[in-house]
């Protein structure tokens, strides 16, 4: 009944405006925040390869539950990836409301952004563009993680990137995700006036500097990690499919 009234009249049964727009805006921000923070953690974890294969291996096993399970369980990764995928879909659905859909809207935005040369407006266009790209890039990556979670590791990941040609996908995904997430986190702070401090203008300037710093830092780190995996994958291409054996197990002659 109330659904029917709201659907046709845009009002609730008591005659007041629907609270849905507030809810949608809030959830767009909440899901964005979750994904943004997740991405920061994710980039640190995948970049552990920069500290060596051993470090990356240990960490993978940690995520597979090695601390509390007897045998590592890649299904844990599957579940986590599925949850993130869900948040990702909700976020994409909510954020889509803001896209320019009609040619006229797009044309207006493009002309205006180009002529005005206003950074935050241009960044928003980039955010919409990278968001759109991630419908495809992000989905492809997330599905891989849901479907074949056991293929994570110093050799497995490197094989995927080199021999299974995921390198190109990841190179594009890194650019999209770093821009989208860092600009998004900055925008969240100014949108809700959180983490801007008592002097919002100064807070915005500071947060924007932090955003640029984060974009630079995470791009460098993620591309360095990608290059490292690619290099490992290249060296390992002869024994494609073989898994990494940590040094402790090598000593025991144990192969996992």
């Amino acid at each position: 009944m109330s659904d029917l009234i709201e659907g046709y009249l845009g009002k609730r049964a008591d005659g007041t405006k629907s609270r849905m727009p507030a809810l949608l805006d809030r959830w767009q921000s909440i899901t964005g925040l979750i994904l943004g923070l997740f991405i920061i953690g994710h980039m640190f974890f995948t970049s552990s390869i920069l500290l060596g294969k051993e470090a990356m291996y240990k960490e993978t096993k940690l995520f597979e539950g090695s601390l509390f399970l007897e045998k590592p369980e890649p299904a844990l990764v599957s579940i986590a990836a599925a949850l993130i995928f869900l948040v990702f879909i909700v976020h994409a659905g909510l954020a889509m409301r803001k896209f320019p859909y009609k040619y006229r809207e797009y044309k207006m935005l493009k002309t205006h952004a180009a002529h005005m040369g206003h950074t935050d407006t241009i960044l928003w266009m980039l955010q919409a563009g990278t968001g759109f790209a991630m419908f495809f890039l992000g989905s492809a990556h997330l599905w891989t993680m849901v479907a074949i979670p056991d293929k994570i590791g110093p050799y497995a990941s490197a094989d995927r990137i080199y021999s299974e040609h995921y390198g190109v996908l990841y190179a594009l995904l890194i650019a999209a995700v770093v821009i989208h997430a860092m600009v998004g986190l900055y925008r969240l702070s100014v949108k809700w006036g959180i983490a801007v401090g008592p002097r919002p203008r100064a807070g915005r300037r500071r947060n924007k500097k932090m955003m640029w710093g984060a974009i630079l830092f995470f791009s460098l780190m993620a591309y360095a990690a990608l290059a490292t995996y690619w290099q490992i994958g290249r060296e390992h291409r002869g024994s494609y499919g073989e898994r990494y054996t940590p040094s402790a197990m090598q000593n025991r002659g144990d192969v996992l």
């Binding site: 207006m108 205006h112 407006t121 100014v190 006036g193």
Partner: protein, 251 residues
């Protein structure tokens, strides 16, 4: 593309400025939108007000633009100067070292002719939409002295009341350009102004009725071009965030 006429005036010693100005009269079926080029000599301390009058005086009596106060108070001279919305009366030609200035009318508003737009219509619609007047239950007795207001609260209200309805925040905002029904920073600032005003008895739920949707506060994409261009330096970023927090928690 119609040919552009180049008209030159050579009266003083200043550097040569090149103006490209949109010429178009939407009410004249013969008129085609095009950029006309004018060259004039810069005078000391020249503003766009001076330059445009010089052009109209010497080169093109048909050129339409608006100025009333020439002092950044009336808000009538907003235009796009090299892509940025600015008050033309407060814009100096010296700020353009290249000497090339392109003037366009502000988008988002109905074009009268050339650089002249009607901001009034838009502002009137906005004012009615956010019910831009004090809402009070009790009948006002004008023969009695007004009740005193805490200076801090009065300041907070006056601070936001400095808006001159120039429309620059609207012309700067890509959301407002893409979505003509978007209430814009000026409308959201107006809501914040009455929220701060102790005379107004409206509560958050009442304000939600006015702007609690995607054409209102939840449609703002935080591009902050309003904040960056407002000639009165109104705290738009802060106030929009504040109203968003308030209205997002209305039950």
């Amino acid at each position: 593309m119609p040919k552009t006429k180049i008209i030159t005036s050579d009266q003083s010693e200043g550097r040569e400025l090149t103006f490209e100005i949109l010429k178009y009269n939407p009410t004249d079926p013969e008129s085609k939108p095009h950029l006309a080029t004018y060259k004039i000599r810069e005078t000391p301390g020249m503003t766009l007000f001076v330059a445009l009058n010089m052009i109209r005086e010497d080169l093109d009596p048909d050129l339409a633009f608006d100025f009333v106060c020439r002092a950044g108070i009336c808000g009538s001279c907003g235009m796009m100067v090299n892509g940025k919305p600015l008050l033309a009366c407060r814009t100096r030609t010296a700020d353009y070292p290249e000497g090339k200035i392109r003037l366009m009318p502000m988008p988002a508003f109905e074009l009268i002719k050339d650089l002249s737009v009607i901001t009034g219509q838009w502002m009137d619609r906005m004012s009615r939409r956010v019910e831009s007047w004090v809402h009070k239950q009790e009948e006002r007795n004008y023969s009695r002295i007004e009740a005193p207001v805490e200076p801090d609260r009065a300041d907070a209200t006056f601070e936001l009341d400095r808006c001159i309805e120039c429309g620059i925040c609207v012309a700067a905002c890509a959301t407002a350009l893409m979505r003509p029904d978007f209430v814009g920073a000026v409308g959201l600032n107006r809501i914040a102004r009455f929220e701060a005003d102790p005379h107004d008895e409206r509560n958050d739920a009442d304000f939600y009725e006015l702007v609690g949707d995607d054409a209102g506060i939840f449609g703002c994409m935080s591009l902050l071009s309003c904040e960056d261009h407002c000639p009165k330096n109104l705290p738009l970023q802060e106030k929009i965030a504040y109203m968003r927090r308030k209205l997002a928690s209305v039950k």
